[in-house]
């Protein structure tokens, strides 16, 4: 599939607001063919897409709980279908929250321990570099990316965490600029500094920081671009 442009679908819920940024980065920076999937579109299946991004924002205002209402909207049935069949799904920020609420990933997001919205650069440590989302990285690579969220405080029962660890499904953890995973480098109180996790098969990943906002040097970091480069590499090579 080398000559064809990779096709990406970007879901749009009422209240999504990082959809345009992801669209621009995928099309203009990575030269893919990305298009929007409006939550009400009558799509029978999503097989035409090489991967799906659930972008950030405030779907349904994030009322009730972040991501909760979007997770229960009809298009998620198709996403679930797509994902169960092995399709690649990346949820960023609110997209991560939606994946959790939809049960595609395990655990929940609580309010940041500061109880405040936090917008700032963080460092991430790559724990697993053998996923579609990280295969262009090396294990332990450090990435600088911005976060911008109010509910990024990952929480799960002990059993779930053990499960994640067993399956190598904790993909990214918050760390400091030296790669040390410390309390101080944890921006939101997230359990074990978890910033990004996948499902068992590693075809679904949720990530709190924004790779689309850190894919160009002029924006202060190109590190987020590795997430997209990984997906591209994986698709090209599979």
């Amino acid at each position: 599939m080398n000559n064809k442009k990779i096709k990406a679908g970007i879901t749009v819920f009422p209240g999504s607001n990082c959809d345009a940024d992801v669209y621009r980065v995928l099309n203009d920076v990575f030269d893919l063919s990305a298009s929007f999937i409006w939550h009400k579109d009558k799509i029978k299946d999503l097989n035409g897409y090489d991967f799906i991004v659930i972008p950030g924002g405030f779907s349904y205002g994030d009322y009730l709980r972040s991501g909760a209402l979007a997770a229960r909207s009809p298009v998620m049935e198709y996403i679930k279908d797509y994902a169960y069949k092995g399709g690649i799904v990346l949820g960023i920020c609110n997209g991560f929250q939606i994946l959790l609420e939809a049960g595609l990933l395990r655990g929940v997001m609580l309010a940041n321990d500061s109880l405040k919205f936090e917008c700032k650069d963080v460092y991430l440590k790559t724990l697993n570099a053998e996923t579609p989302f990280t295969c262009a990285l090396k294990k332990d690579s450090l990435l600088k990316m911005p976060i911008a969220h109010h509910d990024g405080n990952y929480f799960a029962e002990k059993k779930t965490i053990e499960g994640l660890n067993d399956k190598n499904a904790v993909i990214f953890k918050y760390c400091d600029e030296n790669g040390d995973i410390t309390d101080i480098s944890n921006p939101n109180g997230s359990m074990h500094n978890i910033a990004g996790i996948s499902n068992e098969n590693a075809n679904i990943m949720g990530l709190m920081p924004h790779p689309e906002r850190s894919s160009e040097k002029i924006l202060g970091s190109e590190d987020g671009g590795y997430i997209f480069k990984s997906i591209i590499k994986y698709i090209r090579e599979r």
């Binding site: 205002g61 009730l64 209402l69 009809p74």
Partner: protein
Amino acid sequence: MSKKAFIKIMLKDEVLDPQGKAVLSVLKSSGYDNVKDVRVGKYIEIDFAGEVKNGHVNLKGEAEEISEKVLSNPLIEEFTIEIK
């Protein structure tokens, strides 16, 4: 004996409830057709220390004061308190 205050805080009727509105629209689109309206409020449980010196009555007073001054904005919200 330890006592608890249960405080329910709702937006006043005439005040817009964006959360309720959003929940309503999702319920409708999920086929719950006979849902007519949804209002979302807060529920707060306050646990008072072991020895409540001044008894039940004052506890209610204290809970009222807390509700009015700290927990709610009387301009847009109203609260009800139960002591158990």
